[in-house]
Symmetry: C2
């Protein structure tokens, strides 16, 4: 009968204690925090200034633009925005390697024009075929595998494959300034998400270590899977079916499905991110829209309007017209990769 | 040139300070925390004991069953597990109301057998038709709406509709013991997710307030949407297409897509959760599997093997055979709803 009284008092005591101690922490640690330089790989300039200003703007309590932490949703494209994407999307390289490995089990592919074009590196034929037959073929290569086996094949590939220009594992090619930006946003109460045309399976094994982004905050392209019991063991089996393409107009749909809130901060680098940026820009309240412009042929790659991979054309015009933040890689970043 | 030295020192100072203060908090607050009763709406007994034991087991550092917080993923069905589902899934009631409201704009429905069965409450005809034509009709009712307008219609309905037995808003019918359990898990470093046959749109407007579960941690059934510019404004428009049914064998698929990690803790209440429980039980390491058994006709509803809604039959046999935790609502919960 009297149990509820001590319980309530204890709860109150606990809360008061926590509040008091939190206040102590703030008092004791604030001067130290203020001295730590934010975003050290970003040069002083327009892009860094815009980021820091926006974050201060939406995180200062009691000001008109203040946004609650629960609504501080930040979304990032992956290929070309958080890590490199040249000379070919890294996942595409992986899929081609898979295709080669699976070819002996598929003699019928010899007659498949998509396979022949890929096997002979016939760029003209590849371009003429378009995306669809290539995708269908690539999906077939992994069809019937369990998700666990597929995951293993990705981890093995990532551990052994090397980038042709840098001769390093692909996961070394994440942009240091963007890693800093992700951490900076989280330190200011943001939730950070990837929203990528790449598939969820390909990003999740390394995104937490590389970016601090947990698997459930990785939104991407989805291949069909089916639940089955194999020898009494529940497994998910991959189907030769692209269920959701998280690219271009698919990105706002992916955000709606997987996040369910309008982000206030978005970063991309190509026309495949344009609709995402438009979607995030829509609605009222402060918004940050950013594009990484690849201008550094020496430290990384230089490409934009005419590129076969990561083409940036319409989104760049729109960014310039609307005053979105365009990062000039060469001038805005004093380091690109952590190994440089 | 010397900038890096003060920056590093400041960072070290900040870290040491945070560690020191965190230790202080622990020292100061632990006695108070220990006195707070956990799960007050749960009677002492097997179910509560099993939960508390499991949580202690996986959260005690330095013991063999310890699991890192990042892998403490807990998934919950919604209908019948976190809130009531009788006499009819609440979302189904909403959809029927939507259908009635849309009927004047769809004179062609008069000839539709599914519409006629629903409009005349012809249970026999409804059962004979099966799910598919009913679902197709319900999808048509909201097709063409923007996601924002659809969200508004859900919020309006939730604010005005009343449950036939309790004469209260449907969102009052969340189970207090499960709210406590969700909080308890999060206090022990778990990430909590809903994995429901209900649609994401129907749960997200109220799940954070009711359960402390943010929109991006609500996994559910997905209706197709398409990105469009309407008068230059980006919107998502609903399509008459069920894209993903997050029920039965769909639940493990939903977990794989949206969470990307094997949960270690799962709660359901019906055969629609069976595959999810099997999926979570698979693999190595400690696992908690729970079922809510509706045994309380007075405070809630009593139903299981023969129920039209929330049928619990095969999963109950499996739970008994495998020693999963079955919550006997009547005996394990001293309160069901917070208003009781």
């Amino acid at each position: 009968m009297t149990l509820s009284v001590p319980v309530r008092s204890a709860r109150l005591a606990q809360r008061s204690c926590a509040v008091f101690m939190a206040a102590l922490i703030l008092l004791a640690c604030v001067p130290a925090i203020a001295q730590v330089e934010s975003l050290p790989s970003w040069n002083e300039g327009g892009a860094k200034q815009a980021i820091v200003k926006f974050v201060a703007d939406v995180t200062t309590p009691g000001t008109p633009n203040f946004i609650e932490p629960s609504a501080r949703i930040a979304v990032f494209d992956n290929d070309g925005t958080l890590w490199a994407e040249q000379p070919l999307y890294f996942q595409f390289v992986f899929m081609l390697d898979q295709l080669k490995a699976a070819a002996p089990q598929h003699p019928e592919w010899k007659k498949n024009p998509a396979f022949r074009a890929l096997a002979t590196h016939d760029q003209k034929a590849i371009a003429a075929l378009g995306e669809k037959p290539l995708l269908q073929l690539l999906l077939q290569a992994n069809s019937g595998m369990t998700t666990a086996a597929y995951d293993e094949s990705i981890r093995t590939w990532l551990a052994t494959a090397r980038h042709p220009k840098f001769n390093r594992p692909y996961t070394d090619l994440v942009y240091l300034p963007m890693q800093e930006l992700l951490r900076y946003l989280r330190e200011h109460g943001f939730k950070t998400f990837i929203v990528s045309g790449g598939s969820i399976e390909f990003m999740r094994p390394w995104a937490e270590k590389a970016y601090g982004i947990a698997p459930e905050q990785v939104v991407g392209t989805v291949t069909g899977t089916r639940f089955e019991l194999q020898n009494g063991q529940p497994v998910l089996v991959r189907l030769p079916k692209l269920e959701f393409l998280d690219d271009g107009p698919g990105k706002p749909v992916g955000i709606y499905r997987a996040i369910g809130q309008q982000p206030i901060f978005a970063f991309g680098n190509s026309d495949g991110d344009w609709q995402m940026l438009q979607w995030v820009a829509a609605g009222s309240g402060p918004r940050f829209l950013g594009l990484v412009h690849h201008t550094d042929a020496e430290r990384e790659f230089a490409y934009d309007r005419k590129s076969r991979v990561g083409k940036l054309d319409q989104a760049l015009d729109d960014a310039n017209a609307k005053g979105w933040t365009v990062v000039d890689m060469k001038n805005d970043w004093n380091r690109v990769f952590s190994f440089q």
